[in-house]
């Protein structure tokens, strides 16, 4: 494998890891606050559709992004209503949200565009286009470093840089702010937070709202930056891979980034090579597809360092208990 191929694979790793990272951080806020969210997939899907649809109708991708975030936050609100207000089963709510998004996106797409559940192809201002970082063309000819800067780091859409920036931001919010401390506390010991006079319900809704925003950006990235338009079921399990990455990272922001890059790399390799031939031993493409899930099961099984979720995760908070 030559250097240029490697750069290209890493480049597509970054592209493919971005939606995973955004969704993974979304899940991180929610689960750190004690709300399990298996509806990441559905929220991304809804956001992908609405951002592509509004971008197609208005020609403005920023309005599209906004619509995607609103759609995702509405579903987040539903999840919050079910799991915080009515103390319902968070897993069931997540399953319902996934199906709701999967059905509604096709239904509305068919009603608005009549193209078999897709949106029209986006172009120009209706898409997030790659931006070239300063000096990218100047340093292009510098060996190795020039290629890394101009091919790998430069030339992505703004959302990729946003996703990268949200990792240190999330770290800072979680570990260096009062809000972050309370957010983590509410996922571990909500009764302590309540005793301190801080609203458990308020904090959890805030976490679920942040989760909605990030999932919204992730979905918008899928349909307006990675691809040019919405296709039925376009999230293709990314919400679950993000969930897997979250467990892989043991609910920590920097580790989440590395886990998403790893899973993005696996996707990039699977996309480029169908079957990998390792000198006689052929690894079929299905193994590459399944590898993130297998790794997650191994991690969950605790063979490679145990993944312990936030203690109060999945439990609705009842004051009088």
């Amino acid at each position: 494998m030559d250097f240029l191929t490697l750069i290209q694979i890493l480049d597509s790793t970054v592209r493919l890891a971005t939606p995973l990272l955004l969704a993974c951080l979304a899940g991180l806020y929610s689960e750190r606050a004690g709300i399990f969210d298996i509806g990441l997939e559905g929220k991304m899907l809804a956001a992908a559709f609405f951002s592509a649809a509004i971008a197609a109708l208005t020609g403005n991708v920023w309005l599209g992004l906004l619509a995607g975030i609103v759609a995702s936050m509405l579903l987040s609100g539903l999840h919050g209503l079910a799991s915080i207000t009515f103390r319902g089963n968070q897993l069931i709510s997540g399953v319902a949200i996934n199906f709701l998004a999967s059905g509604m996106t096709v239904l509305i797409a068919q009603d608005w565009f009549s193209q078999g559940g897709r949106t029209p192809s986006l172009s120009g201002g209706a898409r997030f286009n790659p931006i070239t970082l300063p000096f990218a063309e100047v340093v292009e000819d510098v060996p190795i470093l020039g290629a890394i800067y101009s091919e790998l780091i430069s030339g992505h859409s703004i959302l990729v840089y946003l996703a990268a920036a949200s990792v240190p931001l999330t770290w800072w919010v979680l570990y260096r702010t009062r809000f972050g401390l309370r957010l983590r506390a509410v996922g571990e010991a909500p009764e302590a937070v309540d005793t301190a006079g801080v609203s458990v319900v308020g904090l959890r809704f805030a976490a679920v709202a942040i989760c909605g925003i990030l999932c919204g950006i992730a979905g918008a990235y899928l349909s307006t930056a990675l691809q040019a338009g919405f296709v039925k079921e376009m999230t293709a399990g990314r919400g679950f891979i993000a969930l897997a990455a979250l467990i892989f990272a043991k609910w920590r922001p920097w580790h989440a980034m590395w886990a998403c890059l790893l899973f993005g790399f696996l996707q990039a390799v699977a996309l480029r090579y169908q079957n990998i031939d390792l000198g006689g031993l052929v690894i079929p493409v299905q193994v590459m597809d399944a590898l993130p899930y297998i790794l997650t099961v191994v991690i969950l099984a605790g063979f490679v360092g145990k993944a312990i979720p936030p203690r109060a995760g999945g439990e609705p908070y009842v004051k009088e208990r």
């Binding site: 298996i38 089963n89 099961v297």
Partner: protein, 364 residues
Amino acid sequence: MDKMPGWADAVLVPLISLVLAAILSALVILGIGEDPIAAVKLMVSGALGSTYGWGYTLYYATNFMFTGLGFAVAFRAAMFNIGGEGQAMLGGLGVAIVCLVIPWPHWTLALLGAMAAGMLFGALWAAIPAYLQARRGSHIVITTIMFNLIGAAVLNYMLVNVMRPKGSMDPATRRFDETTNLPTFQDMFSTADAVVFRGAPANVTFFIAILACVLVWLLIWRTRLGYEIRAFGHSETGALYAGISPFKIIMIAMLISGGLSGLMAINNVMGEAERLVLNATEGAGFIGIAVALMGRNHPFGVFVAAILFGFLYQGGAELALWTNIPRELIVVIQALVILFTGALDNMVRMPLERIFLRLRKGTS
């Protein structure tokens, strides 16, 4: 003291949830510019208006009974087995292997062999997450989701690289031999002068599904093991004090659950397609969740809810055929049913409990 009489809990709450889901679905149909009443009429005539429609409705219902029962048994033990889809997929693989490899002399023997294989493969696919939950504390929801996705990859590999006949582009096995073909309702109920259920896929496995409902009921409410499963589901610590082994209960409940989901393959793979195709399960594993939640995880409830979902499926197919309403409407209805009967259960239950409390105060 219970806040509500038993009948309200078993019938009224699901009924109100269902009505709420139906109202919202009607609004959705209105929203996309179609007439909900005409849609319901079309669904009823398409799914229940002919023996052909019934043949499809009961075919789908058979699938949902197996996966619904599977989910319900695990849920009784407080295990959220979201992996019915993967277990049904692997069950299909088991059924296909048995049907393709062994030269069966008669369909009755083939059916017995296929049932054993389907259950075995489904149970094995549930066994690993169950073991990890029981011994290592790995959250069963996440592991079963992962096993659904891994199962899809396994099936994809088997069909594309191993089981596909030479020269065929289609990722599917060859057709099963004729001796393994199950009698359909058309074969069973048609008389010399009246052909009924013509071309519909409902087959003899419908009765096996009903038998499974009865057996699960006996297991859960009439055996010691069933009592232990329910006790464990109610309170793990309580069950532990009573000397019930959590490991044993988790493993047994999940093996039965996976086995039931895997058993679905005798209907969709052996009874209908008569070969194994990609996406043979068509999401039936997930519909099982909706069916079980609506049926209150009771075998009789699962039976009724499965027929209702069978009707929705066949009716939805008719809608997609004759109107501009896509099939995905059914997915939306399914989501709303899961939402109202599962996640927003307390939204319906809390006001009802208040009403019943007030009524009781009034009489005493």
